[in-house]
Symmetry: D2
Subunit: 304 residues, 4 copies
Amino acid sequence: MNWSQLLNQVYADAIPTLGRGEVATYIPALAEVPANRFGIALVTVEGDLAAVGHAHEPFSIQSISKVFSLAMALRDGGDALWQRCGREPSGNSFNSLVQLEREHGIPRNPFINAGALVVADLLAKRRINARADLLKFMRNRVGNERLYYDERVAASEAATGARNRALAWFIKSFGNIEGKVDEVLDLYFHQCALAMSCVELARAACFLANEGIDPFTQERVLNPLQTRRINALMLTCGTYDAAGEVAFQVGLPAKSGVGGGILAIVPRKLAIVAWSPRLDPQGNSVASLAAMRSFVERSGLTVF
Amino acid sequence: MNWSQLLNQVYADAIPTLGRGEVATYIPALAEVPANRFGIALVTVEGDLAAVGHAHEPFSIQSISKVFSLAMALRDGGDALWQRCGREPSGNSFNSLVQLEREHGIPRNPFINAGALVVADLLAKRRINARADLLKFMRNRVGNERLYYDERVAASEAATGARNRALAWFIKSFGNIEGKVDEVLDLYFHQCALAMSCVELARAACFLANEGIDPFTQERVLNPLQTRRINALMLTCGTYDAAGEVAFQVGLPAKSGVGGGILAIVPRKLAIVAWSPRLDPQGNSVASLAAMRSFVERSGLTVF
Amino acid sequence: MNWSQLLNQVYADAIPTLGRGEVATYIPALAEVPANRFGIALVTVEGDLAAVGHAHEPFSIQSISKVFSLAMALRDGGDALWQRCGREPSGNSFNSLVQLEREHGIPRNPFINAGALVVADLLAKRRINARADLLKFMRNRVGNERLYYDERVAASEAATGARNRALAWFIKSFGNIEGKVDEVLDLYFHQCALAMSCVELARAACFLANEGIDPFTQERVLNPLQTRRINALMLTCGTYDAAGEVAFQVGLPAKSGVGGGILAIVPRKLAIVAWSPRLDPQGNSVASLAAMRSFVERSGLTVF
Amino acid sequence: MNWSQLLNQVYADAIPTLGRGEVATYIPALAEVPANRFGIALVTVEGDLAAVGHAHEPFSIQSISKVFSLAMALRDGGDALWQRCGREPSGNSFNSLVQLEREHGIPRNPFINAGALVVADLLAKRRINARADLLKFMRNRVGNERLYYDERVAASEAATGARNRALAWFIKSFGNIEGKVDEVLDLYFHQCALAMSCVELARAACFLANEGIDPFTQERVLNPLQTRRINALMLTCGTYDAAGEVAFQVGLPAKSGVGGGILAIVPRKLAIVAWSPRLDPQGNSVASLAAMRSFVERSGLTVF
């Protein structure tokens, strides 16, 4: 397949949706990003790269970081995580606290905020400096030593993160955060503030399309079973309240962030990332989602 | 691949789990099935068949029928259904009524009972005799004119179906059942009471592995997009509260029933059905699920 | 106190609120009542009577009937009811089904619909003709042999009662309705359809202000403890989601109905009833509630 | 009435219940109180005092403090509080977070923890040193300059208060806490740690039985309407999930604390306080509640 040509068509298909949706404003630093940015990048397990639009411009990866912190936690501690976090779709956001209350502080899956906080606690417990280690892990994935946490965004998250503080204290009240709440939140706010471009993100996630081996470094990040399972979690839980809808319309494991990015995996083939800041009511980028739909339609690459 | 040899190995792998779990007793007629029954059958899109154990013995397909009623409803009315039923995982069974209340009578997806009742209403509305038509549709899939509704099971469902009556009246109170509640329930109780063997069920579902075309009759049941979407729904919502877990451990679109059957699809390859009556606490057959895990492990056939 | 003069003042105070709110339309028969009707009546334990406005015009007492069916059930079976029904405020209407699910079919209190259905089941179980017996009980309270069920309203309730049918079947699914659902619903729909005037209703309820003895017949309806407890339930649970608000603003045991009636009790003194069809968003009559507030302000008769 | 004789009888009635229930252990400092302590005190609006048992021994008043912080907040700001806090019973504790989520951070009433945090925020906002002012207010009520916050209990609350921190941050996320979360929590943890005896507490609360005027200092603490309304709130919301039950069995405005104290008001007559550390599953003192039931039975003093 001619990937560049394909991405150009996908880009053209999605362009008409660019004006729709609203940029996330709950973090002031996110609200400043120009709303009309739009990029797509794709990296295959053979190392092919294609990119279009603002695919080289760094953006705040936000919740997409949950895929990588989960990968680190599984590599660190294997299946121990699943004693403290479930693997089921969460139904809807309304239920996040209800569900935590009913299930005694065990988050439904690692991709809702509650679950990501438990993952962060697990990372923080095993490491002297989890923040530095996560950054190093990401730099290795991308082959870019200048990858950074956007401290303005991290500070903005911390300043406006009352809901996440509530979640963390609530989980703590059930004993499912073992470390200090403030340290866990600090790690979480930083991972959300990672600044990466579409190209970097697609490259970083490529091990998920390659049975756990980073195709650029040949490093085994995860074993094949762990890899498959992260993909399964992305498909069932990766796009907030719209996971069913995305599975229905796109049919690929995917993880989105309120910065406007969406990462999708075609198992055994490639990783693709689209980015545009305007979001639909479910918190997924309108243009990025349109790009994913067009990509699947044109390429026929879906898991179903 | 030598399918027969593979199924024999899968069968042997799952045999040790046969004593675990409990046969469903909420319908008296189900409780009478011998608990140690166990069969597996597989039908490929090329028409190959493999079977092992009690794969030719009919059992009550129960909720697996929801896949077929959904297929009929989509063929009948296309996307109109999605105005009246969502496509998101339901979180957990606890929420079924809560969710209906919050979302004004729109069931979360067509595979929870509430959604299947809306599908049944849609079928009943368009047809003079929906019960007969569904039976005919299934007979065509299987090529067996003697396929039947087990009237004892249907009567048992009707006699003990207070919860389903509550659901139906509740949806009716929001105006999302248009027909008569008693007629919708009658259709629903009958579809659950379809008696089919593993072999018949695998053959009947084979169009889902073949982009919508029944490989035996060459009849187009659904278009490719509709087919893919049913598969996506099975993966995200097909196994009650364990959909995430099954995606995680099996990684195939699957639909289970409290009769002990599980149907799984390997897109573009085959349909596989396992059956054994003992259920885990989530309502999925212990041995059938073990068989699915073994099948995926041994064959490598997973969508992830 | 000059009760007539007092009621005239109360009536004048409340008149300006007459245009506010909306007549209940969910039952067609209720929607036909002229919206500007307004009456107040008061009956003291000494037998004094005062009335103003449309106080002699019968209206549909709806949920106010729950006070009387509860009284009959307690007289019939004493505290056995409390094994099957709680005594706590329900929080809010949203929770009715959630709560039933969490508490396995035990309604939170006898004044929500679910609780009234359990009371009706209890009445129906002990009697050959509960409908006739309840009517007789009410006729005795009022001293009027012509008191009747408005069959048009009862039929209207039955025709539009999908939500109540859902509730009844749901409770049945937990085994907390012992009789036939249709018979329980028939009794419930009829008790709601009792047609009574303010004067009749105040007289009928006077035993609640008189430690359980009907001051007109000297019949002991309930013992003093049972009487007090019904008053306590009215105060904590008698006015739908506004029970706290009514306790706060009025400070009397009270029970309202969507027909626009409100009954309040001044223990050891009197029963007062106001009626006007326009309802606030909580389902309580705007003018009747204004009358109650004015009555308490002018008379100082509050329990607090 | 001979109050001393009455209290002696009430004490004797409740003694057999002393061994039942469990001392609260969630705060270590509470767990150290000897479990067999039991005292009762009563103060009338005429200034009569009666006391029995350990009625002069200070205990941690815990949630009973919510009555006094509410009184101060109403005196400070009048009805403005009700923009930020409801007046309805909360249904059950399970719902506290659900309810906050559904109602956008507006607590259901000022006696659940969420509501008390909003009250604390309101107090803190208007004052330079709310902690000192609340202590002074209580000292004035009691006429005892040595009344104190038990700093060990306050520290214990702070160290184990993850759930309250979660609540406060959650309310903050909706904008319904205006001040700093840590300062609001500090005030709240201290008010719960007030150490008072039954006699002191009964005297302090006597204005609630006297239309808002402290009968000892003749100071008007609240106007009659505000006073009545606090009583109404105590009756509908004062005893956690058992408010309906206490209204049903006792029939007086009451407020309990997990330290084992219960305060009840007989409007226009007296305040009564019982204390014993063992709690029932709803968090109310078993012996104190038995004392209240006996008091009402023997005296006939109930509002119903």
